[in-house]
């Protein structure tokens, strides 16, 4: 990517902000752990977080750092997990679209869909280099991954919403009412 390219993470954060979500740029594993800890302590009595393995979430250092901070990470696949009982779900993201503030969460078989759908708060980890400016740039990347076998996805643009009742916008219907995106800067001196 040329250094002259737009700082997509800023566009992304602004677009997501308009939709009622929040994106923050964090540098390094400690900062990610800090951010997750703050959210977990604010919103979960037991400071426990349901997660779907894969991508940035698999970072061993992150797991260790969270454990050291007293945040309990529970894999959705671990025996006895009760996904509906969690307040917070943590996933990584394959791809994002800056213009529309969209996350593309995908993969193949897995329980990750539930992690991003059931809890009230969804924390998503996103790499700076995975942000594309708009749909026409992101779509070919999505389609390539799709044709290589990643057949199940959910695209998320902000927290769950409805305007069904008297045309008034309400956030948080069936899906999460909070969407926190942590943008992990993997390109120092790059697009940003």
């Amino acid at each position: 990517m040329p250094a002259s390219a737009q700082p997509y993470h800023e566009t992304f954060a602004a677009a997501l902000g308009v939709l009622g979500g929040r994106a923050r740029r964090v540098r390094g594993g400690r900062a990610v752990a800090d951010a997750i800890e703050i959210i977990a302590r604010q919103h979960s009595d037991s400071a426990s977080v349901l997660y779907e393995p894969g991508g940035l979430v698999d970072d061993v250092a992150l797991h260790l750092a969270l454990r050291a901070r007293g945040v309990k990470l529970v894999s959705v696949e671990s025996a006895g997990a009760q996904p509906a009982a969690f307040e917070i779900g943590l996933t990584s993201v394959e791809l994002a679209i800056a213009q529309s503030g969209t996350l593309l969460i995908g993969g193949d078989v897995g329980g990750w869909g539930l992690v991003a759908a059931l809890p009230r708060i969804h924390i998503a980890l996103l790499r700076t280099s995975d942000i594309e400016p708009d749909l026409s740039a992101a779509f070919p990347r999505f389609e390539r991954a799709f044709s290589h076998g990643q057949r199940n996805w959910v695209w998320v643009s902000g927290p769950s919403k409805t305007a069904d009742i008297a045309m008034q916008l309400v956030t948080g219907v069936h899906g999460p009412n909070m969407l926190e995106v942590l943008i992990v800067d993997d390109q120092p001196g790059g697009r940003g």
């Binding site: 677009a15 939709l19 959705v76 696949e77 997990a81 009760q82 996904p83 509906a84 679209i97 213009q99 529309s100 969209t102 995908g106 193949d108 078989v109 897995g110 329980g111 869909g113 539930l114 759908a117 059931l118 749909l135 026409s136 779509f139 389609e143 799709f146 044709s147 057949r151 199940n152 996805w153 959910v154 695209w155 998320v156 643009s157 902000g158 927290p159 769950s160 919403k161 409805t162 305007a163 069904d164 009742i165 008297a166 045309m167 008034q168 309400v170 948080g172 219907v173 069936h174 899906g175 999460p176």
Partner: protein
């Protein structure tokens, strides 16, 4: 299948006086329509995406049998099962059977018009499977035992109080929360329990990707995600028209659907689901199952129907409903069938339930064309409705008698009135009006047009001008380079002669030799009555009149937008095998479009306007010039529907905006409600009046806002817009060309 006869007149009257409908539907529809407009205006590749989407849909419809097979194989490969359902009954049987074999007692369901179409819930309930609607709007509909009134926003017709009442009634609560926020949270709580307990999840699909067997579900709330991921069995029910070949084809639809539906860039959630691939779940023991039910229910027959085939391109965005003036006035329960609403709904109901069901409400379409303009896949909804109306008439064997025939050709009506001594006052006698109403459906409350003593061509001949009539003189006037043909449509020739005279003078001042051509009707009136053969005959007559000029490259201008757009937009449907119809369509222009193309010449004649100019007409002109030079004149302009759809309206505002000392303000109302014969017909008279009153209300507000500056003029290009405003408004509206004529004297 025909439903018990509806009394649409009574339904219309009830809707027009129902406070909930009146307060909820119009404003909500307009809000969403405005959001759509903003979203597409901000999207540079909008038209390219529309073209691509339309092309993909057309080729998919063409290849439908192959795509169905392809999807079948792909879904099986992915570990799911495909079922083909020939009709509504078969779809229900298949899904009931799946539920029973998989031992499902409870189902959660996301919004799916297709499931409404086949009455799936009732079938499942009969089989002992409890179904819970989980989209908030549909949940409220279910609590209230109501019906959706909009394909995207099911409870567009309900006020907040109606919703609270639904919660009270449906949940048996005495006390329900006040705010939409709290009501939503209550629904979330209740529904979450049902999601977690459900055995079966039922969804529709916005698109089905044939190559991979993938379904795409677009939503904002997250309920469809839970329906597809929580229960152990997922059934997706989709009409066969939802198939597109490959994932690469999805992109333009993602660009268009959310923008058109709600003005969003993308909907909050887009689920991409292949087979039972959401796979192992901590909530489910063992494997999950996926079934795709592909529904025909008339769709393959629609594919073979030259008129209804286009409806299969519909992506159910609802944009056409939101801009539809009759829809805004009465809502989707009245202007709609059991499942689908508005103009596109008439085509769908005709396709899936039959002509009789469509016939119950199709005539509420005024063929104004506003919907066509906003349709992301450019479906020609007014054309489909006109053609459907023709079928309905043929089936009923109802041509409306001799007067009906006259209504289908305004020229003949006007000529008859002219030839009949005393007809103009005779026409207002109660027995005559009663007869007109009985025989031709002309509402007796609507005044008939008054005819001036001279037609436009009679006047022009008296002035020594060149005139051509249908069938005789066309060849006698030799085309020349400085020539313009003013085509006098039926209304301009017989009724709106003042506007016609103003047009002649303005064109002459621009230095043109003006020929006035008249005699042939464009076919618009016949088309809006559904008489396609008559419209074809008339279109051919008009072609004969104007062809020599069109072939010679002479510009042809018209005053009445609906007639001009009939030539430019409809004749290709009416005369598909006439190459010269294409040439005519290119040559014919609405007069302001033409003026806008002649910028510098128009600038020259307008240049003198503010400075005074010579006073040829005494006091009136003097007064006008004073007004203009005082710089204190606001004119209010209402665009004609077809003029807006065709994209000609900006030229009107542009040219008027260049008149010195004049400030131009445009209305936002979609339609005046008159729409040709729409305002004359008994069946639609009430709706027409209501729409007219709304426009007058807007004009009054604009005049009040202009306040101290004073409003002297209400301008409208459409003959029917003017007659509606003349009748309901407080001012006598004029054609904008009359203003141009006046200031360039």
């Amino acid at each position: 299948m025909s439903s018990p006869g509806r009394d649409l007149d009574a339904e219309i009257r009830a809707a027009l006086t129902d406070p909930s409908i009146q307060q909820a539907v119009g404003p909500a529809a307009r809000t969403v329509a405005a959001a759509r407009r903003d979203a597409v205006e901000g999207f540079a590749a909008y038209d390219a995406a529309r073209d691509r989407a339309r092309a993909i849909k057309e080729s998919a419809i063409e290849a439908l049998p192959e795509l169905i097979e392809m999807a079948e194989e792909a879904v099986e490969r992915a570990g799911g099962t495909v079922h083909r359902a020939e009709d509504a009954g078969a779809a229900c049987e298949i899904i009931v059977d799946i539920a029973q074999r998989e031992d499902c007692r409870t189902a959660v369901k996301s919004k799916s018009m297709t499931s409404e179409e086949v009455h799936l819930n009732a079938a499942l309930e009969r089989a002992g499977v409890h179904v819970r609607e989980t989209d908030l709007g549909e949940y409220i509909v279910q609590l209230d035992e109501d019906r959706p009134s909009h394909i995207v926003a099911p409870i567009l017709h309900k006020s907040l109080e109606d919703v609270r009442q639904a919660f009270r009634h449906g949940l048996g609560l005495d006390d329900v929360p006040e705010s939409p926020e709290q009501l939503t949270q209550l629904a979330r709580q209740r529904l979450r329990e049902e999601f977690l307990a459900a055995d079966l999840g039922i969804t529709g699909a916005n698109f089905v990707i044939a190559e991979s067997g993938t379904i795409i579900v677009v939503e904002n709330e997250g309920n469809a995600r839970l329906c597809t991921q929580v229960p152990r069995v997922h059934v997706a029910l989709a009409g066969v028209e939802k198939l597109i070949p490959a994932m690469a084809d999805l992109q333009p639809f993602l660009e268009l659907l959310p923008r058109s539906a709600t003005g969003q860039l993308l909907s909050v959630y887009l689920s991409v689901i292949t087979g039972p691939g959401w796979g192992r779940s901590p909530l489910v023991e063992g494997d999950r199952a996926f079934h795709l039910v592909l529904l025909d229910n008339g769709r393959m027959a629609m594919r073979d129907d030259p008129v209804l085939r286009e409806a299969l391109c519909c992506i159910r965005c609802g944009a056409c409903l939101n801009v539809c003036a009759p829809y805004q006035a009465v809502g989707g329960h009245v202007y709609g069938g059991p499942t689908y609403q508005s103009g596109i709904g008439a085509a769908w109901e005709a396709g899936v339930r039959g002509l009789d069901t469509a016939a119950e409400f199709a005539h509420l379409c005024s063929t104004c064309s506003r919907c066509q303009d906003v349709c992301p896949v450019r479906i020609d909804i007014p054309w489909m409705n006109s053609a459907l109306r023709g079928r309905i008439r043929d089936k009923k064997g109802d041509g409306g008698g001799r007067f009906g025939a006259l209504l289908r050709e305004p020229r003949r009506l006007y000529e008859t009135v002219r030839r009949t001594p005393g007809a103009s006052w005779l026409g207002e006698l109660p027995p005559v009006r009663w007869y007109l109403e009985k025989s031709a459906g002309v509402d007796r409350r609507r005044p008939l047009p008054e005819l001036p003593s001279l037609t436009l061509t009679e006047w022009y001949e008296q002035q020594g001008g060149a005139v051509v009539h249908e069938g005789n003189d066309g060849a006698r006037v030799e085309p020349s380079a400085s020539m313009v043909v003013l085509w006098a449509d039926c209304h301009t020739e017989h009724v709106e002669t003042t506007a016609g005279q103003a047009a002649v003078r303005v064109l002459q001042r621009l230095g043109y030799d003006v020929v006035v051509a008249t005699g042939a009707c464009c076919g618009r009136a016949a088309l809006s009555q559904g008489d396609v053969p008559a419209a074809q005959r008339q279109a051919r007559g008009l072609l004969g009149l104007l062809e020599p000029f069109a072939e010679a490259g002479v510009p042809i201008v018209g005053l009445e937008p609906s007639c001009v757009s009939s030539v430019v937009c409809e004749h290709e449907h009416l005369l598909p095998d006439e190459p010269s119809a294409m040439i005519l369509a290119i040559r014919v222009q609405e007069i302001f479009d033409f003026l806008n193309d002649n910028t510098s010449a128009v600038g020259n004649i307008l240049a003198g306007a503010g400075a005074g100019g010579s006073d040829r007409n005494g006091a009136a002109a003097e007064q006008e010039v004073r007004g203009a030079s005082a710089g204190a004149r606001t004119v209010l302009v209402h665009g004609h529907c077809q003029q807006k759809t065709a994209g000609w309206y900006p030229a009107v505002l542009e040219v008027l905006g260049r008149v010195p000392g004049v400030e131009v303000r445009s209305t936002t109302a979609e339609c005046c409600g008159m729409a040709g014969s729409y305002g004359y017909k008994t069946a639609t008279y009430e709706v027409s009046r209501e729409l007219g009153r709304r426009l007058v209300g807007e004009l009054d507000d604009m005049a009040a806002a202009a306040g101290s500056q004073g409003v002297e003029d209400v301008l409208a290009c459409g003959t029917s817009c003017r007659s509606q405003l003349r009748e309901l408004g407080r001012t006598v509206p004029r054609h904008p060309i009359e203003l141009i004529e006046e200031v360039t004297r």
